[in-house]
Amino acid sequence: MMSSSPAVSVQELRVERGGREVLHGLTFDVPRGAVVGLLGPSGCGKTTVMRALVGVQLVKSGQVTVLGEDAGSPGLRDRVGYATQSPAVYADLTVAENLRYFAAVLGAPRGDVDRVIAQVGLAGARDQPVATLSGGQHNRANLAVALLGSPELLVLDEPTVGLDPVLREELWTLFRTLAGRGTTLVVSSHVMDEAARTDRLLLMREGRLLADGAPGDLRERTGTADLEQAFLHLINETAGSAA
């Protein structure tokens, strides 16, 4: 595959969870080196999409291609970093012990543990058991694991939830820096004001893609001042065309 091919290509993705179809045929591409926001209200299917990208979600039908291979294929397991929405780290281990273990599993270089601790700003809590971290620190420890081994694609499920504005700003700066070095990021959020920071927006609602484009274009197309308004406009537009 040429490196100009999309980092992620999803075709007609359908997923069933708990006996119900929750993704109804999603199609989209993610260009390399972009920061793409996956936005939509809680329960619309963001986490399910991300699980499909990482290859841990059983899918009903459709095609998910990541970095030129089928999602979840063995060759991708150290090229894609995934931070789950609820932190998946060992509560009884310290931050550094967690990272040392996951770095060993990924075969990441030795210095990576300290690098990612610095990147998420957890140097002060390095040797603290994860169970004693605050919610925001816990989240950042979870994010740090995804950064180990400098993966080409980062799939981050609501990484900025529960963070104060300063930390949120720092993380978005970090995401930008990573993208500047060629990393592709897919970042989900249910907060519209984060959408403006992305290169591309995928707006979701009830398992369907409502819109796909640059934040500026979406505002322009809907003739609205902010993305919250644009989202509402798009919902009405879809409801109108369905009726």
Binding site: V56, R77, Y82, A88, L93, V105
Partner: protein, 244 residues
Amino acid sequence: MNPAITLATARRILTQLRHDPRTVAMLVAVPSLLMILLRYVFEEQRTFDRLAPMLLGLFPFIVMFLVTSIATLRERSSGTLERLMSMPLGRLDLLLGYALAFGLAALVQVGVVLLISLTWLDLDLSGSLGSLVLVAVLDALLGMALGLFCSAFARTEFQAVQFMPALVLPQTLLCGLIVPRDQMAGWLEAVSKVLPLTYAVQGMQEITGKTVFTGTLATDVAVIAAFTVVALLLGAATLRRRTP
């Protein structure tokens, strides 16, 4: 499979144990205390000599079953299992990592109980110490493998601990520890023949009663090992990369 990942996994599990000194203390102290209790409940040395080795086969099994079923249940419910399954970790790496770490813990546990039994409690052992440790560690691994398998069918830690009495108590009743198996009703004896703990206890009886490594003991070791491998394979089958 990748030895570096297996070892890292074993080290991670041992580090988790190190952060939990109370569990480690109970792991080591409880079997020893029970053994001491057993010695003084039966004032008679001969009865103790008969029962003690069987308990040496039971303790590691029960303890490892409990510890592993809870540990892997946590691994499933906290999302760390899903995270590991998205990484270059083989299912065997995880299983062997658990086997190494908990096998080591079982070795310490059995070592301490044995030390106390052979010195303070004057346990009379006809067979070799080596075969006793071998059978005890195999029992521990069997408990571990079954615990891992059962954890896949538990949603909560409450459910997971219920598997212990459900799986272990009937086997304890049938394995010959309480009533000799040849005195049981025919159908109960038949059932006891397909239960792994029967062979664990029978193996321990061989070791205490006879000085040589008997054919029966060899069969017992082979049967326990076979049960362990099957349970590990079943456990591996419950570790899925993709979940609904």
